[in-house]
Subunit: 492 residues, 2 copies
């Protein structure tokens, strides 16, 4: 009995906590991006303004029942950013006007037929226009730019054509509706363009900067994690956090495709940056995003090196820590500088690709060449390492890689294990299979230096791709008329 009441009590406490946690979530949403609160307030205000059309006597006499259409327009058109609102508002306007014209044309033709055949005519035309408009929405160009417009076209056409059958003065109704929709649209545009506007273009600009910064962070964390000589199990948790930050860094870049394209699409509708009759090159931001994703694949591959089943022994890796870390640091410095230049809307410094980077690459080259026997296979690598250790008095913390058994022996062992299993039932075999294959893979370690070679090769490839990123940032700077680089420190 007491137990039951305790359970009930706990449940009550849990239920009691739900509103608190919901409140927390809601508050956090607002704190993360205060523009959300402002946008919500704007929608509330716009709705109240538009309902005045209905509530205030003199205004109501002007528009009448059609005030409803203004309410509808505000709810549907007012979007978070100015570009999206403009895009939807203009689409809605265009769709309504096209639909009204076509509807009147059909009404004009239908008027000349009898009552019955008129119904047939209207029914047929609705069907044909419905088919055509829906089919057009599959055309990629229309889908991308005018999907909403075609939807509104179909909606308005249906409403006007069908209602024209029983109403006399359709023209009047249509005119009044267009008025009220225009009122609704203008309230939306006022709210979104003039009062604390959120620009899609600004969002795109900032997200590009933050993507560059995230990549820089991700690469630096990756390389420092690869060469961290701390024991793996002792600080598993810490490593988890580090890897999480690596992941989040490049993930932000990888997943940005559709967001970027949407923002650029809406930004194209925004009038703000098109001074000098000169279209702002939003498409170059999208292109730069693509190049950054291409660059980001390297970060993914580096991360893959961290998580790979096959690992070069920590002791061998630590031989190359300094040059590799320096390459990564230099690359991330360049990325941060590119980010800063975009942030401040100025051209890239001409010596962004500094001598330091070349020097770091060169040192990495020398380091690898100075250890040629590392690439001879694990056993010779161990010998070499031991010699090297004696020569240079390495830190005592470095442990020798354990000598693995011969790969072919291990493989034949696996094969022997597998033969009797073939006679057992399939389920058990299935359970065993993944484990076996993993064993086979980790035992196949080629030369133990192979994974490190891949890592080093990725670093070099990364520098090559960095050039492409710089090229695109420069192209963007030129096309967007960023100010010249003066060499004076930007105030951030």
């Amino acid at each position: 009995m007491q137990k039951g009441s305790e359970v009930a009590k706990n449940t009550m406490i849990k239920i009691g906590k739900v509103p608190a946690s919901a409140c927390k979530t809601l508050l956090k949403l607002g704190r993360d991006d205060p523009r959300r609160v402002i946008h919500s307030l704007k929608v509330g205000t716009a709705l109240t303004l538009v309902s005045f059309l209905y509530l205030l006597e003199p205004l109501f006499e002007g528009v009448g029942q059609n005030a409803m259409w203004a309410v509808m327009t505000v709810v549907v058109v007012l979007e978070f950013t100015a570009g999206a609102t403009l895009c939807k508002g203009l689409n809605r306007g265009l769709g309504t006007i096209c639909a009204a014209s076509l509807a009147f044309f059909i009404e004009f033709v239908a008027e000349k037929t009898g009552h019955k055949s008129r119904a047939v005519f209207i029914g047929t035309s609705v069907c044909v226009v419905g088919f055509t408009a829906t089919y057009l929405r599959f055309v990629p160009y229309i889908k991308k730019n005018y999907d909403y417009g075609v939807l509104i076209f179909l909606l308005t056409f249906g409403l006007i054509t069908v209602s024209s059958y029983r109403v006399e003065n359709v023209l009047n109704i249509a005119r009044e509706r267009i008025y009220t929709i225009a009122i609704g649209c203008s309230i939306c545009l006022l709210m979104s363009l003039l009062i604390l506007p959120n620009w899609s273009g600004e969002d795109l600009h900032c997200s590009t900067v933050s993507k560059l910064e995230a990549l820089a962070r991700s690469i630096e964390a990756c390389v420092s994690d690869y060469f961290s000589d701390k024991d793996k199990e002792v600080i598993e948790e810490e490593a988890e956090t580090a890897r999480d930050s690596i992941y989040r860094g490049y993930r932000a870049v990888m997943d940005s495709k559709s967001t970027d394209e949407n923002l650029a699409h809406f930004a194209n509708w925004e009038p703000r940056f098109s001074k000098n009759c000169h279209r702002y090159p939003w498409h170059l931001y999208v292109k730069l995003g693509g190049v950054l994703r291409h660059f980001g694949y390297i970060a993914v591959a580096l991360h893959g090196c961290l998580e790979s089943e096959i690992q070069t022994p920590r002791s061998v890796r630590s031989l190359f820590r300094d040059p590799c870390t320096r390459v990564a640091t230099e690359v991330s410095k360049v990325l941060l500088e590119l980010g800063t230049s975009i942030k401040n809307r100025r051209r890239v410094s001409p010596d962004v690709l500094s001598d330091n980077l070349h020097k770091a690459l060169h040192d990495l080259d020398i380091a690898i060449k100075s250890q040629p026997r590392l690439f001879l296979g694990s056993n010779s690598a161990n010998n070499m390492l031991a010699n090297w250790k004696n020569d240079k008095e390495m830190s005592p913390r470095v442990t020798l890689p354990s000598v693995k058994t011969d790969v072919s022996a291990l493989l034949s062992e696996l094969r022997n294990k597998k033969v009797p299993e073939q006679s057992k039932d399939s389920k058990e075999r299935k359970q065993l299979r993944p484990t076996l294959s993993k064993l086979a893979i980790t035992s196949l370690e080629f030369s133990e230096a192979l994974p490190f070679a891949a890592f080093a090769s990725l670093l070099v490839e990364m520098v090559a791709r960095l050039d492409l990123v710089i090229e695109h940032v420069e192209e963007l700077g030129k096309a967007a008329n960023f100010k010249e680089f003066t060499g004076i420190k930007d105030d951030l």
Copy 2:
């Protein structure tokens, strides 16, 4: 004069061609996916059906002017797939009912106040509800599942509350509207669920299969391109096509995230596969899609090896052609088998990860170990290669890699070149910079075998990740109750 008329003629011909090319695009759309034509026909039919409510006398007497709402519902709710229609229809229904309840509650409270204060009360409540609903749309969970419902809630609430100020029998109006919206929704559901339905789940299923096939193609093309010994410039075009197919293969996988999530979201609303009171595991398809993307990064990295600035000489690569090609072939065989098993809704064959794959990996291991001196640096590699050539009488087509000058010498040369440039104006320097850096990078070639080591390491990593893919396909097969593997060849 004649020239002018010719230009005009050409322009006319061009304009004349526009309708023809538009027609071609439209026909192609339909031929690529005939379901588009069917969907468009369905929308046309549904619109005609719903307009009967208005056109036919007895039906009109039943619903009256409110028939408009049915037209609106059909246009907005009828979507391409059954799941999307259900999702929108139910969201619309739910939103309308919630909004109506809240609106009546507010009407009930407002009734007790005076005429003026009633207007203030209505205005305030519209503002507050508008703010709250818009803010709720930012909550990720609501945004994902109920965004459309909240929009309709706000729309209906605005319409009912505001119009209640001047209309007496709001309850009647609301009831009639709900009737007509229900009629519209049921026509939509009839059209999309019962007449030639398109299932989001089916789309998701098929796209998963085609992603597996695309990856298999992409990997095989990648490896065969890497080892193709044809001269680069002679068949540049052919290589272009091959690389294009590689790109398209993994691109389809990389870009699938949002499409997958949408399809799975809509598929969750579809009743079709939920027999035995058992939810079909659409989320596992999304999870598998994530794992495939993770696997796809390897394909991207392999492709990167093809396009890298630094290349292992073709002659060195060709030493490892056979084992590498065999690994890639086996991996793509496994991927194709996984695709077939999902396509036929049967469990994966227990020996999908065949001994052949292990053997191919093992051979690659032996091949690399048998050429240890390859990893000693370019010059020794050349010597080794020459020896090897004499030993084994290689095909005469293989050319020796040209002996490069020493890296440090090249670098110091570059540095000397750069010093006088510092005095020139910055623009010229900027023009030179990318070229210089590229030169520096390509001259820094480490051991020439390094890029190949990266390639081989990626192949091994790919096999490791293949395990993860198999695991997820098996999990999917188990959760979705695919039929047991019988060993009998599927009829495709």
